[in-house]
């Protein structure tokens, strides 16, 4: 089957943070309406909706979010489908919307990601997030997500000599980037001492090494490329959109410093796009923890294995560096309303490629987004580009 080229016609994103008075479906609608308005598309022309959400059922009691949002948007009687892949739920929604257009099921599709978390207590959120572990295996041990990344950090440090100050440099960079992004919930000017002195969570992970729970939503309208350009905003090419599976259990990873779902997704994305990591102008990746940015960047082939910490401390992933990573502030500073994150990354990447981002990467023409779920059980990687790139 031959596939059609797909473009992004419109994007929307709420501020990430606390929205105590806004129900979860209203957050989704705000982002969706913004994306639809920007795409200048009639609701009747949207042929499919995919909604990414992870723990809405557990934390808010609201299910059937896809149909609820489709109904409230006044869409036609088109398929509205909720997808879940832990922290990769939003990226999975985007890929499926792209596929529906690519395979000709419809000419336009809407992807929405949403989460609402801040009304719940920390222990309740931690327990809900732990639903992304195999309940017959890892979850029984009392393992947590900071704990998993802490173990990966310790193994990476033992093998590559990765130092605390290198990992802290990721936090300092992303928190500083977040200060320049009005949608970010936790931008900050931090120094290494404040990070090293923050509360221990799961040794060696400390509080400032962790992203914060948040409320928020993001949405993207994708269209067949031959129909792109109807809206006022520059359409952005989807050069690759890939989803993979990885190990379901910590014990199943051959190497806990690398996620095979990321490695395989990146390899296929570069193949689809016909480019390599050196062709990228910027990356938005899944820095759920500070050490995750180093692991993910190496898995994406952005630098040689074991060099992620060095690149971070030397500023090579900063705004003026070789390859800016997480100019948005990333999960560490923009926040991580779980189901919204993958689409929020695409929102940020589209703004970079249009040259309208508040923390603009100069000359951004090709970018990559990376969204990783659970134990590395689900991953999406997208390569997006300006039409003239």
């Amino acid at each position: 089957m031959s596939l059609r080229a797909v473009s992004i016609a419109g994007v929307g994103c709420t501020p990430f943070g606390a929205h105590p008075d806004t129900p979860i479906h209203e957050l989704a609608l705000r982002a969706a309406r913004a994306a639809i308005d920007e795409a200048v598309i009639a609701r009747a022309d949207i042929g499919s909706l995919y909604l990414g959400n992870f723990i809405g059922g557990m934390l808010t009691g609201q299910e059937v979010l896809a149909g609820l949002v489709g109904d409230a948007l006044g869409l036609a009687n088109v398929p509205c489908t909720k997808v879940e892949g832990a922290c990769a739920s939003g990226g999975i929604a985007f890929r499926h919307a792209c596929l529906m257009v690519a395979c000709g099921q419809c000419d336009a599709a809407l992807a929405v990601g949403v989460e609402k978390m801040t009304h719940a207590g920390t222990a309740q959120i931690t327990a809900a997030l732990n639903a992304a572990m195999d309940q017959m295996a890892d979850a029984r041990s009392g393992l947590t997500w900071p704990g998993l990344y802490a173990m990966a950090w310790r193994a990476h440090a033992a093998r590559h000599g990765t130092r605390r100050e290198q990992v802290s440099a990721v936090v300092i960079k992303n928190k500083a980037n977040g200060l320049r992004n009005p949608l970010a919930q936790m931008g900050a000017a931090l120094d290494a001492q404040a990070i090293a002195d923050s509360k221990p969570i799961a040794d060696p992970v400390r509080l400032f090494d962790c992203c914060a729970p948040g409320d928020g939503a993001a949405a993207v309208v994708v269209v067949a490329r031959e129909r792109a350009g109807a809206g006022g905003a520059l359409p952005i090419d989807v050069r690759a959109s890939v989803q993979t599976r990885g190990a379901a259990r910590l014990a199943s990873h051959r190497d806990i410093t690398s996620f095979e779902a990321t490695v395989s997704a990146a390899r296929e994305a570069y193949r689809q796009a016909g480019i390599g990591p050196r062709d990228l102008d910027f990356v938005e990746l899944h820095d759920c923890f500070s050490i995750a940015e180093i692991l993910d960047a190496e898995d994406l082939g952005l630098m040689p294995r074991g060099h992620g910490g060095g690149w971070s401390l030397e500023g090579r992933t900063g705004m003026a560096g070789d390859l800016p990573i997480n100019a948005s502030g990333g999960l560490l500073a923009k926040g991580h309303p779980v189901g919204a994150t993958g689409l929020g990354q695409i929102y940020e990447a589209v703004a970079q490629l249009r040259g309208t981002h508040p923390n603009q990467v100069r000359g951004a023409a090709i970018g990559l987004t990376h969204n990783l779920g659970g134990t590395g059980i689900a991953c999406t990687v997208n390569i997006l580009a300006r039409p003239d790139a």
């Binding site: 222990a123 017959m136 041990s141 910590l250």
Partner: protein, 114 residues
């Protein structure tokens, strides 16, 4: 130090592949899995101390969780019994208890530096 306890993992009755547990059939060949006793001896791949436990584990915290490579060549997620020094990765460990379904390993005495 208590003696090693019988640690059971899952083994495929058809192809012999080992699985850390919690599944009924083999991911490789689909054969039925049955419990198999293993030595409980292995090495420490990595570990952490969980200081913010999830709901349901509050009474346990803080506690150490470890990834262990068993002598039989498979990995398990386990608790690590408290001990004085920070264990080095690669240290020899032995499962000496099973609490609920969760193996509890201790760092072997001879690997201590002191």
């Amino acid at each position: 130090m208590p003696e090693p306890v019988a640690l059971h993992v899952s083994a495929c009755t058809r192809c012999g592949a080992l699985d850390p547990g919690g599944r009924a059939s083999c991911a490789g060949c689909g054969g039925a899995l049955a419990p198999r006793a293993v030595s409980g001896r292995g090495t420490l791949v990595s570990w952490t101390i969980v200081r913010r436990p999830p709901a349901g584990f509050d009474a346990d915290g803080p506690y150490a969780v470890a990834l262990i490579e068993l002598a039989e060549g498979m990995r398990i997620t386990a608790r690590l019994a408290a001990h004085a020094a920070e264990p080095a990765l690669g240290a020899a460990v032995t499962v000496r208890a099973v609490a609920g379904d969760v193996p509890v390993a201790s760092v072997d005495a001879e690997t201590h530096a002191h």
